[in-house]
Amino acid sequence: MRRRPMPPVREGTVNVTPLIDIVMCMIIFFMLVAKIGVNTGSDTTIKVPDSLLGRDLSDFNNTLYLNVRAGPTTPQGPEPLITALVAGQMTELHLRSGGDNLVDTLKYLRQGDPSRNLPPNANFGVIIRGEADMTYQYLAPVLLACTEAGVRNVSFVTNKIERPE
């Protein structure tokens, strides 16, 4: 029987399909991890109003998200329901009654606390995520609290819409 030699091995082009596959999977993985790790304290169940104009903010490090809804009417006046992510926990903030006070919290974050070595923060800002259907009587006390605490940077979250043609 005549033995034939093995044919010579010729390397073809590199198959890049598995490379693309793995790279895309890694991109999706890091996108998911990055999004899951950042919690701004924003309550996505609140339906915000629509607006044509607005800015995109990318830096939320020096801000506090206030989720504001219409609340009960107390003998002292309308009391909005305010929640915020304070010290890593979602906290309900109050204007008048017991519990964590909104003005005190904003003052602490804006003006600092020398007893706790917390310096003043002139660039501290508040982002208000308000319910579209709530009336101004619930929003005004929140804005006044920001003014009382010395917070100058106040932003309002709105839903971006296109101009009708």
Partner: protein
Amino acid sequence: MKLRGAKQIHYDAGPNMIPLVDVVMVILIFLMMTGSFGAAEHFMVSNVPTSAKGMGGTPPPPNWVPPTELSLRVEPVGGNYVVAVGDRRISDPAVLAQTLAAMHAQFPDPDAVQVIINPTRDVEYKYLIQVYDAAMSARFTKIGFGTAGLYR
């Protein structure tokens, strides 16, 4: 006797589609993720503190010049709202934007003008954002809220 194997029938299956389908599915998932995380929200930034009308308090410094204020009174009307600008009452956001743009052109230093939105207590927040939007489209840069109309 020469044995011959059965002739192998070779069907031309064409190029291997499995890697193509694999990559297309991954790209599809990637685009779905980017679409869902795309920001459909934006922010209206205010740098004018809310003004609370009242008496007393700290007197202003000697050389303080009060800023030019343009006050917009907002009141609810039926299921809508009306904005009082000077002696005009406007309920259409497009007309409001045009009116404010015309006023913007008349100010000698429009960037120093503070637009103060003074709603009554029953105006819905979504209407206030429309008024804010109109002021922004008229290129006013200092827009804030007031409480002058709160207890009217």
